[in-house]
Amino acid sequence: MSEHPIDSRELLQRIAARKANEEWTPLPPDDLTDALPPMHTDAVVTALHDRWILPDRLSPGDAGRGWKRAILTPVGRLVFRVLAPYLRAERELLGQLVRSNDALARRCDELAREIARRQALEAENQLRLAAVLHRRDPIDPAR
């Protein structure tokens, strides 16, 4: 039995035994699935494309019938005519928002693809490292 409370030889044997029981497998590079669905085809983004154009005039059906129609139709025309510059600007702004949202969704998809590509490269690199470690020669002690 060693005279030391902790014997270096025994400690190294324990380390070696622990290492021998450790199992490590590098992530296979071809096992990286495209887990995230594309953002630019998402239903929310698609809905924006369908609904971003808001009405810029009074729809005939909205004015009702009879005396209501007789009053509301000219008033509606007047109101939309007065608000026309604002509505055009608003439509332009909404168009820009939809386009920028679309661009962001596409960038998200590009980043997701790039991350997956990097993961594949990292996994390949891990495989190479495992191979290097396996065949590593002892360190050269000569100065």
Binding site: S2, H4, P5, I6, D7, S8, R9, L11, L12, I15, A16, R18, K19, L133, R136, D137, P138, I139, D140, P141, A142, R143
Partner: protein
Amino acid sequence: MQLHLLPDGSSRVAVLTPAWSRGGECSWAVRQVAAALAGVAEIHVVTTEGAAPVERADGVFVIHELATADRGADLRRDAVLHRMDELPQPARDEVAGRAPLAEALASSLRDPWVGATEVVSTIKPDLVVVADFRQIGAFEAAHEGARRAALVLVPLATVPRIAVLPLFGSLLADVDAALYFTEGERTLFAARIEQGRVVSLPLSRHDSVLREPEPRVREWPGYVLALTDSDRASDDEWLELLSMACAGETLVIASPARLTLRPAAGHAPVRWDEPTRRHDLLRLMAWARATVDLHPGTLFGRESVESLLHSTPIVVPANSSAREHAELGSGGLWFDELSGLLGCVETMRDPATRDALAHQGAAYAQARCTTGPDFVASIARTVHDVARTSPQARTLAEQMAATPSGSLR
């Protein structure tokens, strides 16, 4: 020019070494032995170094430079010897016995010492110290130039240690005693040299470095210190892996040219492109959680011993000189491949394990190291042992025993 530094009648010692001023642990070790003898004897150092044959003074030593060394040839020869040593036993003996190869190797270890016999005979030493067990020419110069002198070998068997004993075994027959700097050396030569002693290392703890951490790393307590050579591209992989192993904690890398701080995640690395002074290195070691010495000195791993002296456990390569300290003193761990290094560093994270190794390592290092006077005493004991069988060394032994530090305690 012949210098006489001590009164006439003083003993004379000839130290034959291929590496007196080269630097590194081997030169340091030879200088320590020579200095221990210098108090009572006139020390003449005969070395193959130098640009031209000359006799000069170096402190208290008289240096006889032969100027015959060929560093490139030495490196090529050592590469051949290492390859031979890696062969299994029967094949090694067979290769070592091949006349042309053996002659070529012997010639490379004999030729630089041409002229040494005459120098040694002029010195008329009472004791000859041969440094480096492979120096065939030095043994021959000692034998022919000072037939009656006692012969002490400082083997300087560096790691990776070579034996190739068919080439060098016969040289050891005339050795009266050996001074080893490691247990590994003693193991290699014990069967062939009757008298041998593992000397204490003349190193000591510097309590001043324990007062406060090195200013550059003060804000990062509990760091792991890695010692490396900056000119080794192969170290980069090891350091990168060490960084991964130290994720979440600070790694400090000290190389001869710079100091690099890689803080815990979220902070930018910092680099100082200036050599780390020795005192700063001791301070860095003293305050580290562990010292990972990627390239310990080839003779005994001085920095590793000093790390243990300052209560910091070590992690060292398995095939290095410093493994002996980690293993015998249980003051650290060793590794032989990258995953082993990871395991060692991870293990050092456990405070209880780390503290136990630090405590054990410090106790081992304090027992293994000694102050100057104690080192001189250990050399004096060896000279005393030699004097029992070699009358020529008796006066030297008596003179050493008469000094306060050389008394045979």
